[in-house]
């Protein structure tokens, strides 16, 4: 099973019963899988006429209270931004999968991490946030997809799985743990006909004096709760490290090989891997920085998450960056070389 198929099957087992998508490489395994799997569970698969239509179909299905998902890759995710903003504004749950490829523009079809900003800073118009999960192996693609549906319902908010073409296409063993549904709030907002109740409206237009500001404040409060409760990360050898690599997703996986190698040679280097990109593990990074360590962020882009690492650390420690944009895959050897430069006090060359 490929990473993309792991996401699709995890979604089905987590109760996703509506999927709409549009073909784009490197995520085509998801719509292809859903096209035969959804009918098996009495779910709905629609191949939409566009990314816009696909996300709006998800919007409609979600308004009915059904767990709904769409997936795409970078250029297609750009098209979906309009309605991702509407989903956030109307507080409709949905799961959106981005199996990133190189950009900008049509770019290429290689794995990339260049949509970090788009995923965590808004992407569409208005002040809103998505919960963003960054899986780094198939096990996490499985687990985080299931979690994404729960969190989308819990917060009535769209949730993004930010993967990339490499883990999307990767095959490796993992344990497909069965889905266990947690206690979730009752969906007392769905549109199912106003039988024995007052009519409901799902909308994001608020024209009254001060009304929209109030709505925004409610949303911001929700994002604050996410920041307090949903931060997720993993640290490897961070306690005694002199240098800490910060990386997410596939870059973290590559960096981890380098870290293990360097550790075996006696270098005190560690890895800090954010699993949630929003909310970002700001406090945890800050605590590590207070113990006078140096940081280097490794990304498969021209330097995006590094800005959040710098904001978290707030100038109390040095934060360097090494990355390769345009869908170029970083090798463990490259990472090792950069880290060794730092240990050998050579001038750092990105």
């Amino acid at each position: 099973m490929k990473g993309n198929e792991a996401i699709a099957e995890a979604a089905v087992q987590a109760g996703c019963r509506f999927y709409a998508g549009y073909p784009i490489t490197p995520q085509n395994e998801i719509p292809e899988y859903m096209s035969w799997r959804m009918p098996e569970v009495n779910g709905v698969f629609v191949q939409a006429e566009s990314e816009l239509a696909a996300i709006n179909m998800v919007y409609g299905a979600s308004a009915a209270g059904v767990r709904a998902m769409t997936s795409s890759s970078s250029p297609g995710i750009s098209l979906k931004q309009e309605t991702i903003s509407y989903l956030a504004g109307a507080e409709l749950p949905a799961v959106i999968v981005n199996i990133q490829r190189g950009g900008p523009g049509l770019g290429n079809i290689s794995g990339s991490q260049a949509d970090y900003f788009q995923a965590v800073k808004g992407g569409g118009h208005g002040d809103y946030k998505l919960l963003v999960y960054a899986p780094y192996n198939l096990q996490e693609m499985w687990n985080l997809t299931m979690l994404a549906f729960d969190k989308a319902d819990e917060y009535r908010n769209p949730v993004m799985i930010l993967g990339d073409g490499v883990i999307g296409q990767m095959v490796e063993p993992f344990y497909p743990k069965p889905y266990v549904r947690p206690e979730l709030p009752v969906k007392d907002w769905v549109l199912d006909g106003c039988k024995n109740r007052e009519p409901r409206v799902i909308k994001s237009l608020y024209m009254g004096e001060g009304e929209l500001e109030m709505r925004n404040n409610i949303l911001q409060k929700k994002y604050k709760v996410m920041k307090d409760k949903e931060v997720s990360f993993e640290g490897y050898y961070t306690e005694d490290s002199e240098i800490i690599i910060v990386a997410f997703g596939i870059a973290a996986r590559i960096a981890l090989s380098s870290v293990k190698r360097l550790r075996s040679e006696g270098f005190k280097v560690g890895l800090f891997r954010p699993i949630t990109l929003f909310p970002f593990p700001e406090k945890e990074l800050f605590m590590l920085a207070r113990e006078s360590r140096r940081f280097i962020t490794i990304e498969m882009n021209a330097g995006q998450m590094v800005e959040d690492v710098r904001l978290s650390i707030n100038g109390i420690s040095e934060v360097l960056f090494y990355g390769r944009p345009g869908g170029t895959i970083i090798t463990p050897a490259e990472v090792q070389e950069k880290i060794l430069q730092l240990f050998n006090h050579q001038p750092y060359l990105a």
């Binding site: 709006n56 006909g193 409901r200």
Partner: protein
Amino acid sequence: MEKIFQRPASLKPVPFRYCPGCGHSLIHRLIAECIDNLGIREKVVGIAPVGCAVFAYDYFNFDMLEVAHGRPPAAATGYKRVMPDRIIFSYQGDGDLAAIGTAEIIHAANRGENISVFFVNNATYGMTGGQMAPTTLLGQKTTTTPFGRNNETAGYPLRVAELLSTIEGASYIVRTSVDSYKNIIGTKKAIEKSFRYQIEGKGFSLVEILSPCPVNWKLSPIDSLTWIQTEMVSVYPLGTFKDKIKEIE
């Protein structure tokens, strides 16, 4: 004494705030009356578009969903596929349906989605202040065609009903008008038939309704109705363009 005329239960007891002489309040009422007649108020979900009728949920007394500009047929698809026993309609203007949302309407029709679409054609963008719509007539002055619509730079009026009637997946495509008592009654019949087709699972239907926009046409309400009769109808002829079920029967 028997009460023979009253506010439909599908309308909230509030006054319409559309402009004087605007067709939206009338069309809202017709839709509400049809929903009452069919006894489906508690099963209906309406879609409010982006445009003047975004405020439809202030008036309709049933569940309403607001959808991004042009995308209601896609959202209706998602909704209806997971809630096949509910009745969903999208209410869209000419900017929404015939400009930004052309892909969505064509493909919803082509898939034969079992939904009802009420398409209000008033030959202009009402909400944003009277700009050119795809349905604006040649020579018609709008705020973005100050010298009149010229086909060399701005194309021709788009005939939606005719266009959609060529699509195999569509079941019932009709164009009506609200310019006269006779045509208002015809519009109501078409709306009710569209809902009935959906209830019976007969597939995609669209009712295009020629509707006055006196404020942006810069005409009196009465003159606006005359303008529909003298100018619009010759470009947008009324009639049933497709009735798949009738053809089969």
